[in-house]
């Protein structure tokens, strides 16, 4: 049988170094004192859990906290989301989520769109691992739902 790490070369596509970095050192994990948005999401099948909190000044995100437990993909994705949110307003954040979804779906993105994605583009490799897409999108879907709900009320 093979042995060694040799078999794992292809894994780099999934676990880009940015992803592993966010997994090992998740950003913005400090809970917020007075969150305006507070949402939990979980995938009962995998056991992935995400907790997102936002402080808003009008429509602008002024504080963010993301924590949880689960696999490297779900947790690093949530951490990347927390970085994206800094100083974004709600509308831009929602557009960003749409872009992430399109990337996961395998749509071809323009150079400009790739620029907008920044580090989040590291998640692109997930699309080759269909069962993991749910992990990657868990936090983004939760963010979207909470922002849309908030706008609705």
């Amino acid at each position: 049988m093979t042995g060694g790490t040799s078999g794992l070369d292809d894994l780099d596509e999934l676990y880009e170094s940015i992803i592993l970095d966010h997994y090992r050192n998740p950003r913005h994990t400090e809970p917020l004192e007075h969150p305006d948005v507070d949402v939990e999401a979980n995938n009962p099948f995998c056991g992935d859990e995400i907790h997102i909190q936002l402080e808003l000044d009008g429509d602008t995100v002024t504080g963010v906290s993301v924590s949880g437990r689960g696999c490297a993909i779900s947790q690093s994705s949530a951490s990347l989301l927390s970085e994206m949110l800094e100083d974004k307003n709600a509308a831009d954040a929602l557009e960003f989520v749409t872009l992430v979804r399109r990337m996961m779906r395998g749509d071809t993105l323009t150079e400009e769109e790739k620029d907008i994605l920044g580090d989040v583009a590291a998640l692109e490799g997930v699309k080759r691992f269909p069962v993991r897409i749910k992990c990657a999108l868990l936090s983004w879907t939760a963010l979207e739902d909470s922002l849309v709900n908030r706008a609705g009320t």
Binding site: T2, G7, L8, L11, Y15, P44, G47, C71
Partner: protein, 409 residues
């Protein structure tokens, strides 16, 4: 080795498949087993030679199909030690078998204040039908807990099974922990209290000799796809007297004797419980699966798995950061090993192992309450069968080590 594993492997075409550049190491047998040529051939033979609807046909194909279909039923009866083929009802899977009992027997016999007793090791298919029966009938669901080391707490079983108990249901082998439960002893407790006993044989029938008469159970269920058979077919065994007294559940062609718009009368066992055109091809192929296992000898199958599991448990001991969920010693234990890593999430581990061609299952294994009782929401699971080898166990252990090097570098 008790089994000639290389000879067996040659019967399973899928085992020569490559995953990427790696040979397939299939260790997800508790989810479903692979199929030997003999079973696949039985399907092809049926569809290319004598496919026809069964029962009441006067033409040659229909007669041949009916004979093969009923011969398969008799083979399954023999395989699990049932005296009468009429006590064997074809279902889609064991989930349907348990639902059949919960609806047909349950709705007729379970009343407010009654108790239904199951174990802490049931699969969702062995929890939710009873939970919902309890909700419909006003009965209470009681759970026999596990011990610290992952065996069934027999003292608790004695306390929980009482005159209030109407039925007790237990897996014979846990699909998560690998634990083999003494369902004969549990059944005795049930019968002493006037309750019936259902044994979930999903994980036992493929891996150990089963004799329903010896076990003394009233119901026994299995899924063919976990024991070399095709998907889409399972079996409910019931003691004939118990089945006789149960009303039919699904209605339609084949399960009736006579129909008017006002009324219908039911066919004899087992047809009373088989509405519509049955899964003829897969029943016949299940007969071929049972032939294959019977030719190996279920005692030999069991010995092979004890050896292999023993070897695997030894090798798992090398992995310091890995915790096993089931019993660590190899007594009364099947070839199912669930485990968690202290840092690497089961999903990441599963994806990494897949890159090396190694197929394991990750998640809650359709037994959320049991997995949660270990304070995790997901675990990895490797499970063995007749075609697995020590070198595949080595591949698994080496794969886990390689994944550690990758993630913890």
């Amino acid at each position: 080795m008790t089994l000639d594993v290389q000879k067996i492997r040659a019967d399973f075409p899928i085992l020569s498949r490559k995953i990427g550049k790696h040979p397939l190491v299939y260790l997800d047998n508790a989810a479903t087993s692979q199929k030997p040529r003999q079973v696949i051939d039985a399907l092809v033979d049926y569809y290319t030679r004598y496919n026809a609807n069964v029962h009441r046909g006067v033409h040659t194909l229909s007669i041949e199909a009916t004979e093969a279909f009923e011969a398969a039923r008799a083979k399954v009866a023999k395989f699990i030690g049932a005296a009468n083929p009429e006590s064997i009802i074809w279902t889609r899977n064991i989930s349907e078998a348990i639902n059949l009992v919960a609806y047909s027997w349950g709705d007729t016999n379970v009343k407010p204040g009654d108790e239904i007793v199951i174990t802490a090791m049931e699969h969702h298919s062995g929890i939710v039908p009873w939970q919902q029966l309890a909700a419909r009938s006003g009965a209470t669901l009681k759970i026999i807990p596990r011990t610290e080391e992952g065996r069934l707490n027999m003292d608790a079983a004695e306390r929980l099974i009482t005159r209030k108990t109407k039925i007790v249901a237990a897996v014979q082998m846990s699909s998560v922990l690998g634990t083999v439960i003494d369902v004969k002893a549990i059944g005795r407790l049930a019968h002493d209290n006037g309750a019936l006993m259902l044994v979930d044989g999903a994980q036992s029938a493929p891996h150990l000799p089963v004799d329903v008469e010896e076990l003394g159970c009233d119901f026994f269920g299995l899924s063919a796809h976990k024991m070399l058979g095709p998907t889409g077919i399972g079996v409910l065994y019931g003691r004939p007297e118990v089945l006789e007294a149960m009303p039919p559940w699904m209605f339609g062609g084949d399960m009736i004797l006579a129909v008017s718009y006002e009324d219908a009368s039911w066919n004899d066992l087992p047809y009373k419980f088989e509405a519509g055109t049955p899964n003829i091809a897969d029943a016949i192929a299940t007969g071929a699966a049972v032939d294959y296992l019977a030719a190996l000898g279920m005692d030999n199958v069991r010995s092979h798995e004890i050896e292999l599991t023993g070897y695997a448990l030894d090798r798992f001991a090398e992995l310091e950061r890995v915790r096993l969920l089931g019993p660590r010693d190899n007594a009364d234990r099947g070839g199912i090993i669930s485990f968690v890593h202290d840092t690497i999430h089961p999903h990441d581990l599963g994806t990494a192992l897949d890159q090396m061609g190694i197929a394991i299952r990750t998640g809650h294994h359709c037994a959320m309450p049991l997995v949660r009782s270990y304070e995790v929401v997901a675990a990895a699971r490797a499970s063995f069968y007749i075609y697995n080898t020590p070198s595949e166990v080595d591949a698994l252990i080496d794969g886990i080590k390689a994944t550690e090097r990758y993630f913890l570098k």
